[in-house]
């Protein structure tokens, strides 16, 4: 039901004009907008938040209207005057159309994919608008969206529900609050720019950029043994992990009968069984020339181990994430890495790391 028709575009929106605006005025404006359009989970655009001003082309259009009026007056030609007034009237009509193009559009955030530092990230935003198939002209068209100072995307047209992926380039490790999304469109004739700000209260933890490295594990049971098979999970009977479709010949004991009764088809319950001793990843043991690199290496290791379904724990300074496996564990570990801020202790840690490297 969703359509992904977003085209990605790169521009530098900070033109010379915006540079002229003093910082104080900008802050004042920002505060005013923040009060007028407070952050919400779901934002529907209305007259409260839609701004419309003529574009440069719109001003050229007005100049043409005046030129034609003078032309018609000098030649005493009512038809030319009529044409200029018709164009003026088109200008007026376009105000309503540009307002209509944004009005009623509802924005809500969709849970985004993992974000890694320094890698382009996209926030999927669900746009819900009215789309009457009998009146295709009344759909929302040519909607552009952009985070402040970021690349913008353009939705050629929307359906009842459309997911737009709004770009955010080069996020920093840690908690990312991209702020308001600027939404605008030049529909229908490019005479006006109608725009608004949508604050969906977006925030996302940006994981450290993964850096490929050797997996360096610390097993408490056997510190010398760095065998990767440690903590590996193999299919077993103990831990229920999920459902997958039944393959003929499998034990009927593991068939999910409840789901079968609900007419969902024959499914097999999957169980895993941990293999070998659990292992640890530790910041202290990770080498690198600075903290970010070490965190990056850990980030890569967490992902790799998680993909291999290995059970592992994470030790960052005094903070320990107990051994586990699965997606939620991976996220927990990544978040811990992402939000890690070096304290005074860490400085010494860093030295320790350095010593280890040497």
């Amino acid at each position: 039901m969703f359509s992904r028709k977003a085209k990605v575009k790169q521009t530098n929106q900070t033109s010379w004009l915006t540079k002229l605006i003093p910082k104080a005025a900008e802050q004042k404006w920002s505060r005013w907008i923040g009060r007028r359009l407070p952050p919400q989970e779901k934002v529907t655009l209305s007259h409260k938040g839609i701004f419309i001003l003529p574009s440069a082309f719109g001003i050229a259009w007005l100049a043409l209207i005046i030129l034609l009026y003078l032309f018609g007056t000098n030649y005493q030609n009512n038809l030319v005057i009529g044409l200029s007034l018709l164009l003026a009237s088109v200008f007026h009509t376009c105000i309503i159309y540009s307002y209509k193009n944004l009005a009623g559009l509802t924005f809500s955030a969709v849970s985004p994919a993992d974000a890694y530092a320094e890698q382009p990230h996209t926030f999927p935003i669900m746009l819900t608008g009215h789309a009457n198939p009998k009146r295709p002209d009344t759909t929302h068209q040519q909607i552009c969206m952009q985070f402040n100072g970021q690349r913008h995307i353009r939705l050629q047209h929307t359906e009842e529900q459309t997911i737009a992926t709004v770009q955010y380039d080069n996020p920093k490790r840690g908690l990312l609050t991209p702020g308001r999304i600027k939404v605008w469109s030049h529909f229908p004739l490019g005479l006006f720019k109608a725009w608004s700000y949508v604050d969906l209260d977006l925030h996302q933890v940006v994981f450290a950029a993964p850096l490929e490295c050797d997996i360096r594990l610390t097993s408490q049971a056997d510190e010398d043994n760095n065998d990767i098979s440690h903590g590996k999970i193999r299919p077993g009977v103990d831990d229920y992990t999920g459902l997958r479709s039944y393959v003929t010949g499998e034990s009927l004991k593991q068939v999910a009968w409840k789901q079968w009764a609900q007419n969902k088809g024959m499914l097999t319950k999957e169980f895993n069984e941990p293999e070998g001793a659990p292992v640890w990843l530790s910041l202290a043991d990770t080498q690198g020339h600075d903290l970010e690199q070490r965190l990056s290496k850990l980030s890569w290791q967490v992902n790799t181990l998680a993909r291999k379904n290995q059970i592992f724990g994470l030790i960052i300074d005094n903070h320990t994430l107990s051994q586990s496996s699965g997606e939620s564990h991976r996220i927990a570990c990544q978040k811990a890495l992402a939000l890690y801020r070096p304290s005074f202790d860490l400085q010494s840690d860093h030295h320790l790391g350095g010593k280890n490297a040497g």
Partner: protein, 695 residues
């Protein structure tokens, strides 16, 4: 860091640009010089090549050098083709060259704006209803280019439809603005077109008017606006449309006096106006000015000349019209387009009751040593009739009594024009008789002058106006008497009274005059009453168009506003505008889909839910987020024993619903499913209504 993602021109836009180019340029074909046409054609073909991917965009150097070359050539020939024509050609070339080197969206927008301007230029000389409709369509097509930029992923037909929609929505406000917007006079002098002039010329030799009688073209139309509301004008015999007064005669050609010429040249900078006649000038009768005046609107066809038409003493309040001292009207700009102006005439008022010696001298001057026989005749008249008035009447009667003939194709004339006509040929038309009378009068010491213009008019009973055609061109005489001023004398009336009393058509067979070279003229329909009726109908439409649209001026505006608002004051206008704009806003907003409430569910889902709700009331299990098929199964489990009669129908209903909602269907399948779904819906609904609750 700028890239051109937004400025890429979509294929739809390119397609519309191809259409627009032809649509905008083709109406200007008449004005384009041959090589402008050639360059435009090359640019179009090149653009076609780009569209189909056969050729690349032209190098910038080529376009630039072409542009410079074209501009230089135009500058060189501008004196030949006229400044306005040169400017039009320059604009057309600029349009074509911009069109070919278009790379970005900005260029597209420029092309669109220039396109509107070219449409406006075309409107300068194409003003009929049909042209206006055509050019409005061109404007819609031009707008489609913009629509295609901001509404892509659609078919070109959708672009055109949307463009139409926007124009249609803009029309009401445009009409309101058209009515209330101020009409100003021309603000500065603008270049005019250099076109072949039609109609009367400011020089008249004997052959000129006979040429005009071969023309069935419309010269102008007149609508009388009498104070009692009627639209009829004076009798045909009084419809002398004075256009030019000629006072200089060199033995061959009549010309306007240089002093009048000078006034005409100065007209824009020193517009001359005459004082309105006072009641003294209106003759002995102390009558009200109002009663003695004629109000009318003249809609002149483009003649590319500047003289205007009026009855007797013509006055015009129009500030683009000057009133010359010879009681004619003169336009500040050549009549390059259909133009309407208001005139007030005072038929009973005296023209120049006293004459300055200079003017008297001018109107007594004759070429020396010419036409001795005429001189002799004039001396005879002077001796016989010492009273000037009696003398002129005798001269008039002379034409009637002697054997003179009225013909549109007179025999050739020698050097002594008047002598040859009066004593040898004795056959001629208005110009001959008028010249002869002026000559005789001047030779006998009475100031006289030649007036050219049109005589008569065809009345259109549908719309109540007079059409004056070129073949009604006429020449007559004005003779000056002490204390009476200039008096009109038309010697033609003595020879062919029918020509004056009943009009040109009564005297001449149209087939041999104005229809001779025109096999398809609509005037041929005059012979067939009902076809003539249709001709009149179409002509009336064109007349109303000219009066109410082309000739909509400040006075008409006031009249319309007065009718609509009662009293015209800024407050009333503001209120009316406010109401109009609000209504129009609501109208546009409605059609733009602004009031459209999104139904929460589609019709099928609503119907499915309705049935489920009804079933639940009758004791069916709770729906609780169950998908349709699961709910059907749950119902089977509950009602298998208690109410099995419902199950097959409900299962089928569910199946149809699922098919409609989630299966990809062709339109034919869709309608089949929909039919079955709706039938099941009604049977279930009615059945549930009748049934008792079950467990």
């Amino acid at each position: 860091m700028q890239d051109n993602f937004d400025s890429i021109i979509s294929r739809n836009t390119l397609f519309w640009l191809l259409i627009t180019n032809v649509a905008v340029l083709s109406p200007q074909f008449e004005h384009a010089t041959p090589w402008t046409t050639a360059i435009c054609a090359i640019c179009f073909v090149w653009r076609m090549g780009i569209y189909y991917g056969k050729v690349a965009a032209p190098p910038k150097l080529l376009v630039t050098s072409l542009a410079i070359g074209a501009a230089t050539t135009l500058a060189l020939v501008s004196s030949q083709i006229g400044l306005l024509n040169a400017l039009i050609n320059l604009l057309l070339l600029g349009y074509a060259l911009k069109y070919i080197e278009m790379r970005e969206l900005r260029d597209v927008k420029t092309v669109v704006l220039v396109g509107y301007f070219i449409i406006a230029l075309t409107l300068l000389d194409q003003q009929a209803i049909i042209n206006t409709v055509h050019l409005t369509l061109v404007a819609v097509i031009n707008t489609s280019v913009l629509v295609s930029v901001y509404q892509d992923n659609r078919k070109p037909s959708a672009n055109l439809r949307f463009s139409f929609k926007i124009m249609l929505h803009s029309l009401p406000l445009a009409i309101v603005l058209f009515v209330v917007f101020p009409r100003l006079g021309p603000l500065w002098l603008v270049p005019s077109m250099k076109s072949a002039k039609t109609g009367l010329s400011d020089e008249m030799s004997f052959g000129d008017i006979s040429k005009l009688t071969r023309s069935d073209e419309l010269a102008f139309r007149v609508g009388f606006e009498n104070s009692d509301g009627s639209k009829s004008g004076p009798a045909n015999a009084d419809l002398y449309w004075r256009t030019l007064v000629m006072e200089n005669y060199d033995g061959k050609t009549w010309r306007q006096h240089p002093s009048i010429k000078e006034l005409q040249r100065q007209s824009f900078y020193q517009p001359s106006k005459r004082p309105l006649p006072n009641s003294e000038q209106l003759g002995d009768k102390q009558s009200d000015l109002q009663e003695k005046q004629l109000d009318y609107v003249v809609i002149s066809e483009p003649s590319h000349q500047r003289w205007l038409y009026g009855l007797d003493q013509a006055f015009s309040q129009d500030n683009s019209i000057v009133e010359l001292p010879d009681y004619t009207l003169y336009a500040m700009r050549p009549l390059d387009q259909r133009q309407s102006y208001r005139v007030v005439s005072y038929p009973n008022s005296q023209m120049d009751p006293t004459l300055t010696p200079k003017l008297r001298d001018i109107n007594l001057t004759l070429p020396e040593n010419a036409n001795p026989q005429t001189w002799q005749l004039a001396q005879q008249f002077t001796q016989q009739y010492p009273q000037p008035k009696a003398r002129i009447n005798a001269m008039m009667n002379y034409f009637a009594e002697q054997a003179y003939y009225y013909t549109l194709s007179p025999p050739a004339i020698g050097n002594e024009q008047i002598d040859d006509f009066l004593f040898e040929n004795r056959a001629g038309f208005c110009a001959h008789y008028a010249s002869a009378l002026v000559y005789l009068a001047r030779a006998s010491g009475i100031p006289a002058r030649m007036v050219t213009g049109y005589q008569g008019g065809e009345y259109n009973p549908k719309a109540g106006y007079y059409s004056v055609y070129q073949y009604m061109a006429h020449a007559w005489t004005e003779v000056w008497f002490e204390n009476e001023g200039w008096q009109r004398f038309d010697p033609t009336a003595m020879i062919a009274p029918q020509r004056i009393l009943d009009g040109f058509d009564a005297t001449f067979d149209s087939q041999s005059s104005y229809l001779l070279d025109r096999p398809f003229s609509p005037l041929r329909l005059k012979q067939y009453p009902w076809l003539n009726n249709i001709r009149n109908q179409i002509a009336s439409m064109d007349y109303y168009w000219s009066v109410w649209i082309l000739g909509f001026d400040e006075q008409r505006k006031q009249a319309v506003l007065k009718k609509l608002l009662g009293e015209v004051n800024p407050r009333n206008i503001a209120i009316a505008m406010l109401i109009c704009i609000t209504v129009i806003l609501l109208f546009i907003a409605y059609f733009a889909g602004l009031f459209e409430r999104k139904p929460k569910q589609d019709r099928q889902s609503r119907r499915y839910q309705a049935i489920v709700q009804k079933m639940m009331l009758k004791g069916a299990p709770d729906q609780a987020q169950l998908p349709p098929k699961a709910y059907a199964q749950a119902l089977s489990a509950r009602w298998a024993i208690s109410a099995p009669q419902w199950l097959p129908r409900f299962h089928q209903f569910t199946a149809e619903f699922v098919a409609l909602k989630y299966q990809p269907l062709t339109t034919e399948q869709h309608s089949q499913h929909l039919r079955r779904f709706n039938r099941l819906y009604w049977t279930l609904r009615l059945g549930l209504l009748m049934s008792k609750p079950m467990q």
